[in-house]
């Protein structure tokens, strides 16, 4: 299968990366090149094979269900490009 420019635009939108119309053709070629190479996985018979979900066989560890108060608001906001009164600032999202 081959990606066209409209699919590239759709992927870019899903990935939230602005891709100009002038870049779409080039990107489509690049992505097709890599995806075409990946297609060889189709040769492998994987019928009945459990997909790998964990590198090391381990069971999920549980922590005690206790409330922990970590007053880290200043730390969390320290690298925010814009913050006011303890909040992140973004463009208006409701009318």
């Amino acid at each position: 299968m081959s990606l066209d420019t409209s699919t590239v635009a759709k992927i870019a939108r899903l990935a939230r990366i602005r891709v100009g119309a002038d870049e779409q053709t080039h990107l489509a070629q690049e992505l097709n090149h890599v995806l075409g190479w990946i297609e060889q996985l189709g040769e492998v018979d994987t019928k009945g094979v459990e997909p790998m979900t964990s590198v090391a066989p381990m069971t999920q560890r549980l922590r005690p269900d206790v409330v922990v108060l970590e007053n880290t608001r200043e730390d969390v906001l320290a690298n925010a490009p814009e913050s006011v009164a303890g909040f992140y600032v973004v463009p208006k999202v409701v009318e």
């Binding site: 990935a15 990366i17 690298n79 490009p81």
Partner: protein, 490 residues
């Protein structure tokens, strides 16, 4: 002999004997860093902090309270968050990012007394095999081909780490390895680098690329030095859900080179088409060294080897697209202009990420998108299970596996940039073990026809770093690799 030429183990001995102080050792390295700044290995130098830590180390030692790495100057890959010190992951996206916390791996090193010299350049978000994708310019390899002035790549993604250790600008360095990012640069720069078993080192505070593959490990100039560093870096951490709660052995005890009776597997499928004769020669030589040391060499099969790279280039981009979704221009990192929130996201990410990172995010987004998930991602995770099973079966016949680390020696800066797949092929021998989560080390084995170092890779069973170190020490002993980079001869 200058203090920067010491091995880490020798430096520890001299510090213990008070032949040298931590301050003297640190000053010698800071001078070497200033001398070879043109390599672009360090993104940030922290000389004042280093000297302060060195003075504190000398004081601790005077009171008889020295830790296992006390006074040892190290470089830190810029993927590890260091509290109060810029951490960029080689990306414009994090140009002004100053973490308010410390990664577990680096915290472990400081706990044991190590001194931080600075932060090391790398491929952007650890995506690359040449250090060419760094937003802060390529790193240069201190090696040159004899009679040539062509600047060579140090490999990647931990290129700054490998270059700095080879150029004696640190006694050791941290790296991370997702598909070969420690082992391949170690081979290109003529030093030792080990990726331990997935789960040995905590991933907490290490900027994520592909979480099921990312694993930290050390670089140094001898096998024993990497064993010393790995011991400090490893250990259970409740903050990483994939951290393994197992005792950390004293791997230095394994660095004795005794491989008598060990069975060493040589995978048939690693004899790839068009493999350069020098790579095959050094591989055969390595097998002979181990045979001479009393090991038994056995041919093994890893039938799904050829599918490892395409599998990796589904799994890693898929995980990368999820992990890098956090860079939204709101919470941290670069912020672009935007009248709406979506515009702000799209512009922040378009401006903050470089071409290779965007390519991988988009591939990952595509293979995870509705209608393609089964065809790509599920299929890749199934093939990944088969690759892991290949290793499990192979380890019924052998105790460790010997392969070349990379299919070539270091190439020139700017080469292999036109075709992403040509760049991906650098990791053909390292990626399979990453997919299976196995420990792997690269040890310098000799010089190729072009006068550049070549590395041999030893892979072990899960959590058998001990076996890996034993074989690696035997290779190091037999190889007697003493060649130095051209840069240091002048």
């Amino acid at each position: 002999m200058s203090a920067v030429d010491l091995t880490l183990a020798d430096a520890l001995d001299r510090l213990a004997r008070k032949d040298i102080s931590a301050v003297e050792l640190t000053e010698a390295h800071l001078e070497q860093m200033a001398r070879h700044r043109s390599l672009n290995a360090y993104l940030v130098e922290t000389p004042e902090r280093a000297l302060g830590e060195a003075r504190a180390s000398d004081a601790r030692r005077a009171q008889g309270q020295a830790g296992p790495l006390d006074g040892i100057p190290l470089g830190i890959k810029d993927l590890f968050c260091t509290k109060g010190v810029e951490t960029t992951a080689g990306s414009r996206m994090l140009e002004n990012f100053v973490p308010t916390y410390e990664s577990t791996v680096t915290a472990n090193l400081w706990r044991d007394g190590a001194v931080m010299l600075g932060k090391l350049n790398m491929d952007e978000f650890a995506m690359g095999s040449s250090n060419m994708t760094s937003a802060y310019g390529p790193v240069e390899n201190p090696w040159r081909r004899p009679g040539s002035n062509a600047k060579l790549v140090p490999g990647g993604s931990s290129g700054g780490s490998a270059s700095a250790v080879a150029a004696r600008m640190a006694l050791g360095a941290t790296g991370t390895d997702t598909g070969g990012s420690i082992r391949q640069p170690a081979a290109f720069c003529g030093i030792v680098g080990i990726k331990p078993t997935y789960g040995r080192c905590s991933r907490w505070g290490t900027i994520a690329f592909a979480s099921s593959l990312d694993q930290a490990g050390p670089f140094a100039r001898t096998v024993k030095d990497t064993a010393i560093l790995l011991r400090s870096m490893s250990g259970f951490d409740r903050k990483d859900s994939t951290s393994v709660d197992m005792p950390v052995p004293d791997w230095v005890k394994d660095c004795v080179g005794n491989v008598r009776g060990m069975r060493i597997g040589i995978p048939r499928q690693y004899r790839i088409d068009g493999m350069p004769a020098e790579i095959e020669r050094v591989w055969n030589q390595g097998a002979q060294w181990l045979r001479d040391a009393g090991a038994e060499i056995v041919e093994i099969d890893l039938p799904h080897t050829k599918y490892a790279l395409p599998t990796y280039y589904v799994v890693a981009p898929a995980e990368c697209s999820s992990n890098l979704a956090r860079y939204d221009g709101v919470r941290y990192g670069h912020r672009g202009e935007g009248a709406t929130l979506t515009e702000l996201y799209e512009n922040s990410r378009a401006e903050g990420f470089g071409a290779e990172v965007k390519r991988r995010i988009m591939i990952g987004t595509y293979v995870l998108s509705a209608g393609y998930y089964d065809a790509y991602y599920l299929k890749a995770q199934q093939v990944r299970a088969l690759i892991a099973r290949d290793f499990t079966l192979a380890f019924e016949k052998c105790d460790a596996i010997l392969t070349p680390t990379a299919p070539s020696s270091a190439f020139a800066i700017g080469e292999k940039m036109d075709d992403p797949i040509a760049m991906y092929l650098n990791d053909v021998f390292t990626v399979p073990a990453s997919l299976a989560g196995l420990p792997g080390i690269s040890v310098p084995a000799g010089l190729g026809d072009d006068g550049l170092p070549l590395g041999l890779q030893i892979l072990g069973k899960p959590f058998d770093e001990s076996g890996v170190f034993r074989v690696a020490q035997a290779i190091e002993d037999a190889a007697g690799f003493t060649a130095k980079p051209a840069l240091l001869a002048s």
